[in-house]
Amino acid sequence: MKERKLGRGVAMVGAGMSTFGAFAGISTRDLLADAYRDMIATVDRGFDPNEIDGLYIGNFSSELFEGQGHTAPIMTEWLGLAHRPATRVENACASGGTALRQGVMAIASGLYDVVLVGGIEKMSDLPIERATDALATAGDKLFEIPSGFTFPAFYATMASAYLDRYGLGAEVLRAVAVKNHENGALNPKAHFGQRIADVMASKKAAAAKKGKPVPQWKDIEEFFADDRANPMIAWPLRLFDCSPVSDGAACVLLVREDLALQFTDTPIRIIGTGQASDGALHGRPDITTVTSARIAAGEAYAMAHVTPEEISLAEVHDCFTIAEIVATEDIGFFEAGKGGVAAIDGVTSRLGARPVNTSGGLKSKGHPVGASGVAQAVEIWKQLRQEAGPRGIGANARLGLTHNVGGTGQTSVVHIFERR
């Protein structure tokens, strides 16, 4: 692994996000304005917007989702940051993480001192078939999609291979869904912030209210296996294995490290960044791991001079339950084949030894694709500053990691954060 270095240190001095959800009539501009206001309130000593030298905005597909291109400059006007250079960054679902990396590089290069990194997506206006088609453009239109792949089908194909390889069943997938909904229930900004047990109770109550037969699930296992309550999307993945189609935005304020104390006593330093690419899923020798994520994580760890064992918590790209299992192996938390069992054993739960997706993850918090990579950094900010409220993991949290994947791993971006 080639060890790379940042030319200058970079620190995060503010972080905020909109509520994630489905909001009719609300555009990406409105969502980013919400996130920006939320971020401003987190900068302990305040800042002058004129200090912002430039913007990087992660956005997958506003053309398809809301008929709007050229989204970065549009945001500058709306946020009152006129004439600042603004660049949209597109790497499918890793657009946000890649925008963060561009912001880090812009400061590390010496060009800018203060950068606003945003992530935006407005997905809920499209009917589900068109949203499915829009998401599928992250795959290879010529060599994968004609076979009948949808986006869930890609991850389902990875899941089939993973479960077959390690002799596991859907129980490992279920464990991730249950855990992330437990965490999301403690996140007031989550799209589906309900525990699975609460989802079951509310479905029973709704059926009773309508005078329909009340479902008689004995336990969560029976609920998950119910084709009506939890329909198959792409075998073996069901509805509750999939992250939702969400609207949302997130943003963070980055500054060169030696200015950070002007903004706050508790900056969060970005000490590692890694990124890698890959081709179509079928071209990879092993589809039970994401090679680009392993390379990106390796680069980030090498730059940060830390090991996976030292990381206090990780926000990983759980667009599907299987994706979290593979991610926790790719970032070195667990050996290959052990990530699912770790979820069952509670190791990755909020109070476990290796907390993963304390925000609720993409699964429960929601997945407005361009925003997700930036929202991961917002959670790390809250956790490392002990501002995560009831979902906080405690005062010892010092190092956080984000893992953001585009497509099935055509892009992976990993960042490592430190509170000193």
């Binding site: 194909t157 990875m158 993945l237």
Partner: protein, 136 residues
């Protein structure tokens, strides 16, 4: 003729599965690509493949793309999609036919497969796509 992104589909329409390589001792790339990763030669030649392989993995898809819905698939008639490792080494994406999509657990990773060419309705036209069927 130079290899372009259209080469793969054009050959499938002619019921041929092709890859590319720079020489007899070099790996085959499927779909065919124009540039060798190691730049061992300037030009790549097309190679016709046997169409034999094994199933690497798969999914059965009740929530289909609009393209597949237009071709008659969907919740009531889910299709199977998968990755097949060819006898020559590389793997490709393909529709999987001749399997029981009502019982996905009956579909086995590692099944030997053979190529088939499927004419799929796409609005007013028909496109030919590559598919694989288990060898019984």
């Amino acid at each position: 003729m130079a290899i372009t992104t259209a080469t793969y589909a054009e050959n499938i329409t002619a019921h041929k599965l092709v890859g590319s390589r720079t020489g007899i001792d070099r790996p085959i790339h499927v779909p065919p690509r124009p540039i060798d990763p190691l730049h061992v030669a300037d030009t790549m030649e097309l190679v016709e493949l046997s169409g034999k392989g094994t199933l690497v993995s798969f999914s059965v898809v009740p929530v289909a793309s609009s393209e597949m819905i237009a071709a008659g698939y969907g919740r009531e008639n889910p299709h199977c999609v998968g990755i097949v490792k060819l006898a020559e080494g590389p793997s490709i994406s393909a529709q999987i036919v001749g399997v029981d999509t009502k019982d996905p657990a009956s579909i086995r990773i590692g099944m030997p497969m053979t190529v088939e060419y499927l004419d799929r309705s796409a609005g007013e036209t028909t496109i030919t796509v590559v598919a694989f069927r288990p060898v019984l």
